[in-house]
Symmetry: C2
Subunit: 137 residues, 2 copies
């Protein structure tokens, strides 16, 4: 198992984290995800962590990093499915995941992403996307 699959669902990308992350896997995920965002012009990234029962500061930092990278590439990130115990641990570790949106499950995350994309005016229309691309230049 050397990479985490990234699934394209309409304008969004879905990543389900099921395995223990180590340095190399996290780097591979960052590379793959940023490449995929650029390739398909994704507007949103959903990261499902419902399978994670234990998190450490490494995972917390990785999530924050991915959110920041996606933002630079003009995509919003939503972390979904966080277990209550994980939320407790993250806050106890002093990581409040600033800048990372969260939602209870994938469906709510999708709605949040769609609403966020509508807000910024970068809807599915080509004109709006082109406008955004020129802003990013």
């Amino acid at each position: 198992m050397d990479r985490i699959p990234i699934l394209k669902m309409g304008p969004h990308l879905l990543v389900t984290i099921q395995v223990d992350m180590h340095d190399r896997l996290a780097l591979t995920l960052q590379d793959d995800l940023t490449a995929k965002i650029a390739e398909v012009g994704a507007k949103g990234v959903l990261i499902d962590i419902s399978a994670l029962e234990i998190v450490d500061s490494f995972i917390g930092r990785m999530l924050a990093n991915i959110a920041n990278m996606s933002r630079v590439l003009d995509a919003q990130t939503v972390v979904v499915g966080m277990q209550p115990a994980v939320a407790i641990t993250l806050v106890e570790l002093g990581m409040s995941l600033t800048g990372v949106r969260t939602a209870l499950n994938v469906e709510k995350g999708m709605k949040l992403l769609s609403a966020a994309i509508d807000d910024t005016g970068s809807g599915p229309a080509d004109v709006a996307a082109g406008e955004h691309a020129s802003l990013a230049e």
Copy 2:
């Protein structure tokens, strides 16, 4: 890692298999998935195996089992993201996955599921769903 997350996406369920399956994990997945189909009344199950680079007859049987169980519960199963080498291996193992639909990626799988659901007349309408439920009795 003791269970594989099952994500609800509209009327469908999405399962991404990323880890090596062993007996207990496969049984847990079957239990969880059938329970979830019954709980949310899912009409379709998408199983993404794009992360699997190696399959054996155990995985092949598990996929066929899940498809059969889902069918009994009135849900269609589509296996998506199979790598070419995996397809070769499965056929060489003599497992042609009879009764399992496949699609190249999640988006195509979703379309296939939606089309299949429309065909059987068990669309999102309550009337049609009720009709199906009575047929299943």
